[in-house]
Amino acid sequence: MEKNVNYDPSFAQEVFENVDAGEEIKMCMNCGVCAGSCPLRFNMDYPPRQIFQMIRLGKREEVLNAKSIMLCTSCYTCKVRCPRSIPVIDVMHGLAHYAIKQGILTRRDTANFGREFWNQVYRLGRIDEKDLPRRVFFAAGFIEGIKSTLKYLDMGLKLLLHRRMKLLPERKIKGIQSLRKMLDKAEKMGKGGAAA
């Protein structure tokens, strides 16, 4: 006989407390419009509303390891269509952030990309487009990094030729020190910050 899955409200509570926009899932009425609106819906393992339902059920591991929460392209279609005004995108971002914080790297490239992206913001205050991919590629290891770099070399060169890649060295914004203080504070105050 198929085994019953036990309801365990503690994960929902964990999400409400630690995940940005986590509490919004309470309003979901399972209409499914979010999944239907998503450009990458065919690549998801669980539709968003099912993720929400799984949170209610308490399926912690499945949710935090779900591919779906890492696939958001930030197009906002789900948010604008949700009849219950749930910012589905924000919930997915919050879950992605929370999962990565717990050390779950279901989509390693995205996690690396996100981390490097943010590191650069923190370091410089801005994004240096030539530097970011390099860091992302090499975050996966040296050999992988070389391979990826070669794969994208043609594109980089083209951009360079068409004056769309600056070769100037990295430049910090003037107020970088004060920005970092602000971000440090936000990191502490905000939700989703709790590491496992």
């Binding site: 990458l40 930030s74 279609t77 487009e129 602000m182 440090d184 990191e187």
Partner: protein, 293 residues
């Protein structure tokens, strides 16, 4: 008409042709810009993977605070990602006093504060609503003569609030294109996402999105695709080769910024002002043909 201009990181790099063309094209319409001094990144793309929501809000609030300290002009954000990040944070702050307090607590660490008094606008919004189609038409000296352009709105430029255009069936870009003398071809995928910020890590999935969009535009007769977002421009233009490899297609359609077309139609310099030489898939031939040279 004076605005703060917040062009963001991409427009200094991969989206340089947007910024280069934006300035002369808008100046021709008597728009005046003031850069937000020492602005920082908006935290778009997948920064959420690296930072919590409040951090990203604070990032944007800093830019808003910097602008507010300098004056009361609206902020124009040409990059759709910057726009959506900033307008969303601004809205949320304005609606939620508790959030404003939190954000200000963080800003205070760097000696800043934000009252919530600044408006964030998209470049399409100000062109359409502040300048107006009529005034743009007046400035056109080289009309695009019915050039079939697919106005690819992308997703973020009209969302999430639909402040100046529909979130599902937007028309503003088409009206602007028409003002330039182009024929805006209708194509349903005009607001379908191109993969935006996760393109790089999820390239396998996102190439299909690019393919679908380009296919739809071309099937509806487009000779050229216009956009108002550096992510869209980058993804649609740079990856055509990859799409062709993967799907056996033969896309080679120029992707230009709306402001580039404006510069051309206003009779400005094709290179210096319209920055057409920045484009990797050259649009000059098609544009020259349309202009009748």
């Amino acid at each position: 008409m004076k605005y703060f201009l917040y062009w963001g990181c991409s427009l200094e790099g991969t989206g340089a042709n947007f910024l280069v063309s934006l300035k002369p094209a808008c100046e021709a319409l008597a728009m005046e810009f003031e850069e937000i001094e020492d602005w920082n990144c908006c935290g778009a793309s997948v920064s959420y993977a690296g930072a919590n929501d409040l951090s990203i809000k604070v990032l944007n609030a800093r830019n808003l605070a910097l602008a507010e300290a300098k004056g009361s002009y609206d902020i124009v954000a040409p990059c759709s990602s910057c726009y959506i990040q900033m307008i969303k944070v601004n809205h949320e702050i304005q609606e939620d006093p508790e959030l404003l307090k939190q954000v200000n607590e963080c800003l205070a660490e760097g000696g800043l504060s934000y009252k919530g008094g600044i408006k964030v606008r998209h470049i399409q919004d100000v062109l359409y609503n502040d300048v107006g189609v009529d005034k743009i038409k007046e400035k056109v000296i080289k009309p695009l003569n019915g050039l079939k352009v697919a106005g690819y709105v992308g997703c973020q430029s009209v969302r999430p609030y639909g402040e100046y255009d529909s979130v599902d069936k937007p028309v503003v870009q088409d009206r602007l294109l028409e003002a330039l003398g182009a024929e805006a071809v209708p194509f349903p995928k005009k607001i379908r996402c191109c993969g935006s910020g996760i393109f790089l890590p999820e390239i396998d999935y996102c190439l299909e999105l690019v393919k679908d969009i380009l296919e739809d535009a071309i099937n509806h007769g487009a000779e050229l695709v216009s956009t108002v977002c550096p992510m869209c421009a980058m993804n649609l233009e740079m990856y055509q080769g990859r799409v062709n490899e993967k799907y056996g297609t033969d896309f080679d359609i120029p992707i230009v910024y709306l402001t580039q077309l404006m510069a051309v139609a206003f009779g400005l310099d094709m290179k210096k002002d319209a920055a057409l030489n920045y484009n990797i898939i050259p649009p000059e031939g098609i544009l020259q043909a349309a202009l009748g040279h």
